[in-house]
Subunit: 236 residues, 2 copies
């Protein structure tokens, strides 16, 4: 099985189409995306391996997915901690943060010291709309993710990687390799550089949309919101 | 184990609080409620017993939960059919219906003839805000649900039942007993009259809200969005 990928422009167009002609609200899509991420974390990092999960959230949709995932992880019995240094003023993100605050989930300012007391990290910093430079305060976070031996689950893209060409050839992010990647709706071209456990989530893409954008809906099982893609797939 | 229940007024107040101080959007809550219903149907009616599911949707939130459940059931491999005779003009419900139309899920006008070619029925007609009279065109539907031998899963309340006192003592609905009930957030007082498989869904209620409204969050397992309550519980 080879898995077709969706480039950055196509992924942005698909997102727009889901929220216009397909009539989904961003609240719905983000809830299902974050739920998918939480289920992948549950699979790769069962509670028996430690309940502490540090979720690094960026300023955009990827960060929103992380906030939703953290809430579901709380309900599964995990103890999430949130690093969310660039809070969006967008109403949806503020509400997602409030939902966590109501659960007494801590928000921390110092990512590196928080890494010292966690069992798993979720990288929800940058997603498919990332390009160019990693802005402050995230360079230090990426450097920490490069060095850590803790398991890291990246949402849609390992943050700092180029969506098309993968890890930077040198410098910041060039040695960042998360242990798990959760591709949302469809894998992005960067997946061919990824070595680790790979999941696809987004069980809301209609057959006609998948056909239009020329990718396969993977074989989800039961009521699962994610499916693990066997190693060796997803190569171009 | 006895399970505390939530009366109609308290359930309405809880819903309002979730969408105001708790910062949830109705899109989020309905997505999670419908997802819970779909998971309960998957448990009580696995695909091997027949993939055809007829979902009867009322004009309000209960109907919206049914529309969401039908979409998730489609993705699990079921073949849903929708009976939705009183379509709301509300934007959210219109979008939920569009999401099903994009999957070529059929909407039918004749409930009784649709019953002739289904394996399971979801009753998403009336929820906790129901009181008084069953309005047209639903009396004939309730009569059909009273007579059918098909398994029926009711969302939050067997439609036509009084939220506090349960089935009408005589006339329409008095002999309606669904095979499955999915209580959302917490069981309603009517549950003490229900004989069948009982699930609770709504894994988004914070411990502090459950405490404030004086009900227990049931022991969900793994990533499940529903939990089955052993028979004999839920009695006052």
């Amino acid at each position: 099985m080879t898995l077709k990928t969706l480039g950055a422009k196509a992924a942005a167009a698909l997102d727009q189409e889901l929220m216009s002609t397909c009539a989904f609200s961003i609240d719905q899509l983000m809830e299902l995306a974050g739920l998918a991420v939480s289920q992948a974390v549950y699979r790769v990092h069962p509670l028996s391996r430690g309940a502490r999960v540090l979720v690094a959230c960026g300023p955009g949709n990827n960060g929103g997915d992380g906030l939703v995932a953290a809430r579901h992880l709380f309900y599964y019995g995990y103890k999430p901690t949130i690093f969310y240094p660039k809070r969006s003023k967008n109403d949806l993100y503020q509400r997602l943060a409030k939902q966590l605050e109501d659960l007494d989930v801590p928000f921390v300012d110092d990512f590196q010291s928080a890494m010292g007391s966690t069992d798993h990290i979720v990288d929800a910093i940058f997603g498919f709309s990332f390009s160019g430079e990693v802005r402050e305060p995230f360079p230090a976070v990426i450097r920490a993710l490069e060095k850590t031996r803790l398991p890291v689950t990246s949402v849609d893209a390992p943050s700092s990687w180029d969506i098309e060409s993968g890890p930077p050839s040198s410098g910041l992010g060039s040695s960042f390799m998360p242990t798990t990647l959760v591709s949302l709706t469809a894998p992005k071209p960067l997946v061919k550089h990824f070595k680790g456990r790979h999941f696809v989530g987004g069980r809301f893409v209609s057959p006609s949309i998948a056909k239009k954008y020329d990718f396969e809906v993977p074989p989800y099982e039961g009521v699962d919101q994610v499916v693990e893609i066997p190693s060796g797939s997803g190569k171009i």
